[in-house]
């Protein structure tokens, strides 16, 4: 039962968030956060909008610099985006002028791989997400779920050790979301990456994560870190799952109330 949690405890630290805070124009968006993420762990940042979870992810990605503190990955401080940290966005962010295959080829192209190798890599990862039959299609010809599969394949084709996902399934319908959650776990078990996954869905976080970082609002900060000891595949209607869902819901509700929207 506790296998996942103890394995995570033994693994070495991959991402270290050291006294990181962020303010925009003097307004604090995220107050001091300290967090250590183990190698190959799956962490969900959970909270309502305005808790700074996307801000934190963007700082790990290197898109925005922290106001104070630093993010350290493999003993190197983050200073800008890097090919070693793949990012998957809620809005897919596919290049609309590139076909599915050419989108997946983008990373290898940036690393100046020869064309044949690029193509082979891209085909491999498109197959991993089950889209080999759609490689010649442009993003406008793909459904939302398919676009996100392409985006995941594109991030993986670069062979990053960290995968950052910013509410990747937030724009999808419930059925597609569940299918993609299962596939993401399958891929994660196969590829072994350190995953940081931002979501506001409690059941999504419990279904996916080893650890859930529940975030507080006003200002954004860490409220509680919860290990999820359930074995995969997790049963969404199992008693432990439901009990966990209920207790986390209580935590999140307190934060939403602080925002005054309920």
């Amino acid at each position: 039962m506790l296998a996942a949690a103890s394995a995570a405890a033994k693994a070495r630290t991959k991402i270290r968030i050291e006294a990181v805070s962020k303010s925009y124009n003097g307004k604090p968006a995220l107050s001091r956060v300290d967090l250590e993420l183990a190698e190959n762990s799956f962490t969900c940042l959970l909270g309502p909008s305005g808790c700074g979870k996307s801000t934190l992810l963007n700082m790990i990605a290197g898109f925005v610099p922290p106001t104070t503190g630093q993010v350290v990955i493999d003993d190197t401080a983050v200073a800008g985006a890097s090919a070693d940290r793949g990012v998957v966005f809620q809005e897919y962010a596919l290049f609309p002028w590139r076909t599915a295959l050419a989108n997946v080829e983008f990373g290898p192209l940036m690393r100046r791989k020869p064309p044949a190798q690029r193509r082979a890599l891209a085909r491999h990862y498109l197959e991993l997400v089950g889209l080999q039959a759609h490689e010649a299609k442009y993003p406008t010809e793909l459904s939302g779920g398919m676009k996100q599969r392409v985006a995941i394949a594109r991030a993986l084709a670069n062979g990053p050790s960290v995968l950052l996902m910013d509410e990747p399934f937030g724009a999808l319908d419930a059925q597609t979301r569940e299918v993609l959650q299962e596939e993401l776990l399958r891929i994660w078990e196969q590829e072994r990456k350190t995953v940081v996954f931002v979501t506001h869905s409690i059941s999504e976080a419990i279904f996916l994560a080893d650890r859930i970082v529940v975030m507080a609002t006003l200002p954004g900060s860490i409220k509680e870190v919860i290990d999820v000891p359930l074995l995969h595949p997790r049963d969404r209607s199992g008693p432990e799952f439901v009990a966990m869902e209920r207790s986390i819901k209580q935590l999140v509700r307190e934060e939403v109330q602080k925002l005054g929207v309920m």
Binding site: G62, F63, A83, G86, E91, A93, F95, M110, T140, R154
Partner: protein, 279 residues
């Protein structure tokens, strides 16, 4: 796995026959539009000449008279010479405007400071109709080819420049982030993200610029030229050859139509990834 994927494949619209019928109707109506235009022209010209003399028939020759005038001018080689003269000016002026407009537009779209430096002057000049500068251009560049090429380039520059700046400036920042997280350098981002993202804008600017080149060449050739389609029209006016004047206008229309169609085809090909470029 496969079954799951198949469930999520976007469904194709299954109304192909209805679409085909719609397209046939569209083609038919378009042909009818042109036929109706000539029919009315014919009717007005013939009725005026033979039934009720509303105005001097010399003022509106029938379509076939214009056609005969055209055949006559092709035989003498005059029409080919004028088309070639106008086209060579348009192409030279347009290419100059395209190169300068895209280059300066890209630079301004990339640099906020350069934008502050360049934009006010451009905004000051832009509302002045290019025609207002034509007499000056003739004074500065003489009555030779130079003044006409410069005039066309000046007129076509503005739309090309403006659309290029917009295209470069408003690239989706998320795409730039995505590229950066995939290992793209500043240079890569410009070449593989900013330029392709701005391409639809740039192409639109080029198309408008080309149309404008065509638009202004006739005026330039009215003022100072001894060849070209504008000269043809103006020259025919001094001799009261109304059929030749109409012929000049018709040839300009035909060339403009052909080029616009070709440019649209090229656009649809280059931008085949856009849904709206397919139709």
């Amino acid at each position: 796995m496969t079954t799951a994927v198949e469930t999520w494949v976007a469904s194709e619209p299954g109304e192909q026959s209805a679409g085909k019928r719609e397209r046939r109707t569209a083609t038919l109506l378009r042909a009818a539009s042109i036929a109706l235009f000539f029919l009315i022209w014919y009717a007005v010209a013939l009725l005026n000449a033979h039934v009720i003399k509303f105005f001097n028939p010399i003022l509106l020759p029938a379509p076939h008279t214009v056609l005969f005038a055209g055949i006559e001018m092709v035989r003498s080689g005059e029409l080919q010479r004028d088309i070639l003269a106008s086209m060579s000016r348009v192409v030279q002026g347009f290419v100059l405007a395209a190169v300068v407009g895209v280059a300066v537009g890209t630079a301004v779209g990339r640099s906020r400071r350069l934008e502050y430096l360049v934009e006010p002057t451009i905004e000051l000049l832009r509302p002045i109709p290019p025609l207002a500068f034509l007499p000056m251009m003739v004074l500065w560049f003489g009555i030779g080819e130079m003044s006409k090429v410069a005039f066309i380039a000046y007129a076509a520059f503005f739309p090309i420049f403006t659309t290029t700046v917009e295209g470069i400036k408003y690239v989706d920042p998320l795409l730039i982030r995505a590229a950066a997280s995939l290992g793209a350098s500043e240079r890569d981002i410009f070449r593989y993200v900013v330029l392709p993202a701005a391409l639809p804008n740039i192409i639109t600017g080029l198309r408008i610029g080309f149309g404008l080149s065509f638009f202004v060449i006739v005026a330039a050739e009215f003022i100072a030229a001894d060849s070209g389609l504008g000269f043809l029209i103006n020259d025919a006016r001094t001799f009261f050859l109304v059929a030749n004047m109409l012929l000049g206008a018709a040839v300009i229309g035909a060339i403009g139509f052909i080029f616009n169609t070709l440019l649209r085809r090229l656009e649809a090909r280059l931008l085949r990834w856009r849904k709206d470029a397919r139709g």
